[in-house]
Symmetry: C2
Amino acid sequence: MVIIKLTKRQEEIIELVKKNQPITSEKLAEKLSVTRAALRPDLAILTMTGILEARPKVGYLYSKRGGNSIIYDYIKEVKVAEIKTKPAVVTEDTTVYDAIVQLFLEDAGTIFVTNNGHLTGAVSRKDFLKIALGNTDIHKVPVGIIMTRMPNIVTVTDNDTAYEAAKKIIEHEVDSLPVIEKTVTEDGKDILKITGKVSKTNITKLFVKLGSGN
Amino acid sequence: MVIIKLTKRQEEIIELVKKNQPITSEKLAEKLSVTRAALRPDLAILTMTGILEARPKVGYLYSKRGGNSIIYDYIKEVKVAEIKTKPAVVTEDTTVYDAIVQLFLEDAGTIFVTNNGHLTGAVSRKDFLKIALGNTDIHKVPVGIIMTRMPNIVTVTDNDTAYEAAKKIIEHEVDSLPVIEKTVTEDGKDILKITGKVSKTNITKLFVKLGSGN
């Protein structure tokens, strides 16, 4: 997958096709005062990208899909495994207060909660703020009581794409997704191990990385 | 700017050039059992994208920059004006409690604070959480007392790119940037009007939009 900038002549060709379609390569060459052979690479690029459509015995047509429909395949190549970072994790019996302290210590947006190594819940800054304003005794109540509990947590795996993760974040209006790995215990129980998190911060960082060309 | 997927033959050409560089188009045609003319569009694309370099009388060389150095010009074309959304704004004399209520009502991550229409500060969920845990009487203390005050707030303008905004968000470790417009009052004072915000959510949404090809 590569990205190219169209040349001035290619842009001119597109304009000519838009105005005169269908138009043959002979006509295009004439209008641009070049040989047909000279146009061949440009026309190849414009048809490959789907900007123009070449119809045998008819000529070139401007394609409405414009070549941008394949545009962000690249974004879809980046995997969750490449952008996930260390999650802030506490156990269910941690007090709400201690969980908040952990949140600040790790500068996290969301705290994930486990029980015997199994992901059981999550609490966001917003949840904590609500609790802090209410009548809950945050020094006594364990985080397990106030957390959003599985299966009401949206998750991703290493093999999902960053794009899928971003989509889930937006659709479910959450700040962060746990990256999970399903394993089965000896007695046949599913265990959801948390191996990382993907947050809006991770996506924003990826965006910056892509934009800086790295 | 368009993005194309390389064809299998183009990938083959790249591999051949990598192994045999410098290599002439005659040699390439021979190895691929096609005519030189048939290769011309492929070679045009590969040199245009900067993947191959054509040296007269020498042949084709593989270019280390790989064609990806121009890859995210596109990301840099999107402007803040296109992705900004409505900010949650309160005035300096609003109590902390009411500001938090506003935060919840608008489901915002950051509250921006103004005084006579002039942007003077910002408070994040994290700041509010800290305050809520402390001894501050949030029903009495105005938000103007606890906010981060200008000029300690990072801002952007409509004409900045989404990329620049994302970079500022990451570098300054903030969730949201106010989009400002500088105007001058009749008596010559600068007024910073807030016209929107760009948050990690806006960047994540843009990422999803790019990935979905819209």
